[in-house]
Symmetry: D2
């Protein structure tokens, strides 16, 4: 958090059928619908999040990610980071406050990987959902489905990983927590964090820019991962792989698809990071185990199905 970037704050996803998408993200995954706007967008959040929303679903003809937003500590920091981004060579677009309901002004930029990101300092503080801020109970009794705990990170596919690394590490203050190196020592995957989490955003080398692999949500326990898997089956939701463990981060995970084909992850556990931690390295020749620690081989779908 050395530059004032605090955490992943939201992701805007394109969905083909907004009603089916809401059933998926709310009824199945357990996010809470918080608002809608006149663009037809639906705003949702996970119950432990204190701000108004973390997932925005936008109806469109093609699935994928519009942008991912990071919250920074205050408006002065936001202004400074905007300047730093421009100094680094990034075009920065300012999106006015309330273009997303309840959200302050956002500074949008495109990373060399082709993805759009935003920074913002203010969002309506709604507090955790379903529990009081005084004498809070351990959890709300009326959560549904997977009871997702928080929006955690995105994994993105694109090229120019080195330049993207430079931008995130040197301008935005992220740390490299984990990486995959090929036989030439080139980094083909980078897991970046601004907190104790093993990744707040991650990039995998891919010839096409700006592709979306998955948005990930935290669950409390491995038993909740099992229940998520059960729910995926009960609801005939398209599964990708899991329950399993990652080698990278060692999180325990399951992947599946929303009705528009966007991949989701729910996971628990995983390692933690401090700024003085040396990055963990996985070798590309062992990528199977790095990604799927138990199977030790990749499924083609995981590498190639992107939105």
């Amino acid at each position: 958090m050395r530059k004032g970037v605090m955490r992943p704050g939201h992701v805007q996803l394109r969905v083909l059928d907004i009603d089916a998408a809401v059933r998926h993200y709310a009824d199945l995954m357990g996010l809470i619908e918080m608002d809608r706007d006149d663009q037809g967008r639906v705003y949702l959040k996970a119950w432990t999040e204190v701000d108004k929303f973390s997932v925005v679903l936008r109806p469109d003809d093609e699935p994928g990610m519009d942008f991912m937003g990071f919250k920074v500590v205050d408006d002065a920091t936001l202004t400074q980071l905007g300047k730093d981004l421009q100094a680094w060579g990034c075009a920065v677009e300012e999106i006015p406050a309330e273009e997303l309901k309840g959200c302050g002004r956002r500074l949008r930029f495109q990373a060399p990987s082709g993805h759009f990101f935003e920074l913002y300092a203010d969002k309506e503080y709604t507090g955790k959902w379903g529990v009081s801020n005084v004498n809070p109970e351990a959890w709300p009794r009326d959560l549904t489905g997977m009871k997702a705990v928080r929006f955690d990170h995105c994994l993105l596919y694109g090229d120019e990983l080195a330049a993207t690394y430079d931008l995130f590490v040197n301008v935005l203050g992220f740390y490299l927590a984990e990486q995959v190196l090929d036989d030439n020592g080139d980094r083909i995957a980078q897991f970046l964090t601004v907190s104790m989490k093993e990744h707040d955003v991650a990039f995998i080398m891919h010839p096409e820019k700006g592709k979306f692999h998955h948005a990930s949500f935290f669950l409390d326990t491995w038993e909740q991962v099992l229940r998520a898997a059960d729910l995926i089956s009960m609801t005939d939701t398209s599964i990708d792989i899991g329950p399993t463990r990652h080698g990278l981060t060692h999180g325990q995970t399951i992947y599946f698809f929303d009705p528009s084909g966007n991949r989701n992850e729910v996971f628990c556990g995983g390692d933690y990071h401090y700024p003085d931690h040396k990055p963990v390295t996985w070798m590309a020749k062992d990528l199977g185990k790095a990604i799927f620690y138990h199977d030790r081989q990749l499924n083609e779908r995981f590498l190639s199905v992107l939105t």
Copy 2:
């Protein structure tokens, strides 16, 4: 237990390399080596079992199962069941006491499915391993690896399921807990129990007689299934599939192979059975979900790799 058959008591497996096999069953799976004999056989047990052994490894050129043994309540019952088997039309061979060290006389017969089974009434009572029978602690501190709790059941592939059902249910007093029916209403899988467990032995329809699919061991929790999966990876053990849940029995499971190619399962949870329970039915057209509840599709290996 209406005919006095109590539980699966042992399984004798053929292994190609006895040292590698012992490392697998003892160091990795956590069974305890209890004895060896002059045939080169190694006797092991899981820690909660009160009798001397439940797994016998026999060095041979081909993997597979020699036989599976069931313990009956007393010697008079054993004698009666021997007569009942013969009356039903089964040849019964008596194996003298101590042919397996610490085990009383065994009555061996071949089921119509082609598999060899044994009944016996006596085995040396060693008590649970590592805990006292007075003021017992919750578990022994020096278990290794997966810490398998007990030998639980075998799944066997063969033909003549109807005749095998008749033998197990009407002669030996098993109950049908779960079944898979094809479109003609024919039973292509039968899960049989003499206790509260959802299966003590199970058969899958297969054109070749006498094939062995897996021997299964119970674990306490889903977290222990995860740790088993981790250990499989750490030890470069060949994995089949998992962690996942079955539709049939709803147990939570992982499959892998011993160094000789015999398949093992460790699992936890699962439904329970009482004699008045109607059998649970899965339809063959949904066999994918019946076997692998989350993936909802079979892997070819699971159906065809047998020993």
Copy 3:
């Protein structure tokens, strides 16, 4: 199950306020209300039970247990056991079918401990609640509260343990799974089973006859015990002790009270029993650890608060 007694089938409890009791057993514990009758009794069951009900709540001025019922395998067995009970010296009262809705004729008797028990062979088969018998899902999505899995056992306080043992073991075919012996070698606690469970009914020596300590319900996992504890707190339900583990049976448990003061337990795990298992013994001088394995000391409430 050597005499044909199969399992604990129901318990009838007296409650002071039927609406409060239903909120407790249904909304909090997750039992399903199945019926009511013109005596004002409410019938409930846990979701995995195949028969119509397992808990009957009867409005009365004093809390406590009216009787506990065991299901036997068929009506001929019921008739025989009635004769055996009388031959042993027990008065047997026949309660006609439908006195409890959906239940066949019941044979009621009083054990030397002072408690009333019943045997019955028939009860309306409703199947598991919320899942099909064909291609059943792993669990129903709309369970509430603690999601109790099944009525499991009762623990009862009374005197004449030796005679009660004789009745249950020699007439009804129970096995002694666990016991507490005092310094004189006298049994002051006996845990009796007719199945693989470590207890289907248990008795603790107590000078007053016919007292009720608790009715116990099974949960799937230690995480569900935690959630039960959380729910107890969230609903301001009176807790006794837990989460903890027992020494006896090694189950993982929490105790609390219904609004009428009847004690409940929900628990998971625990050892298993087969007829050839020697009983596990705890010494009375170590009763603290036998009951509460972690604290290793009894709370006075656990020993003295009875209904």
Copy 4:
């Protein structure tokens, strides 16, 4: 981490019998002995920690905490924080490098609560114990006992909470994550964090300065808390309370004592904190539930047994 303080890095505890203490912290809790020095001190660490040690045991006649140390991001930050502490009014003592083996220079100060703290920037980087930094396995196979994951925080009793708050928040950059307020609105407990953890150090109002309540270590799961509880019982270790959940932080926990009477906690779970989170407040009148969420009442021992 706005002032460069990164995490709790070590705690030095006084113990009466060093051998008994090592058995407790290493064999039972699973810390790894890393070194000893000529003062008779023993250095230990938990396996996920990258630096050489986190717990130092010093033989002495009285138990208690000598000091708790925080690691800062670099030496320049250390220098600056030393100046800031002095400017605030704290005497700062510099302890030379290697006074603790493998640790760089430390700046020691006494908080108004009476406790001694240290800041340091350098400690020998040994990496995680038992796993490689390249293709790391999920966990080391040869951990013992409770398999503690990391030294997590200390809870301290003393007075002058307001001044201590000012020091930690305004000089050292901590955030107030949780607090207990009395009826006058005075803060009687403050949980302070420099990271995503709900507390890195916590203070409870107490008339005597400089008292030590407990040092806490993280475990992965609630099942590991159960196993810790089992081990406490198996080793006849003195238990305080648990397994249970806290209201404050909602962590799942168990407390016990080392052979010298110093209190330890192992726990899992718990909420997370970001700098924009408003502090969670518990009311002093509900302190029972705040501390022990399930029992909702304090035991006297928890409040009064300090070292």
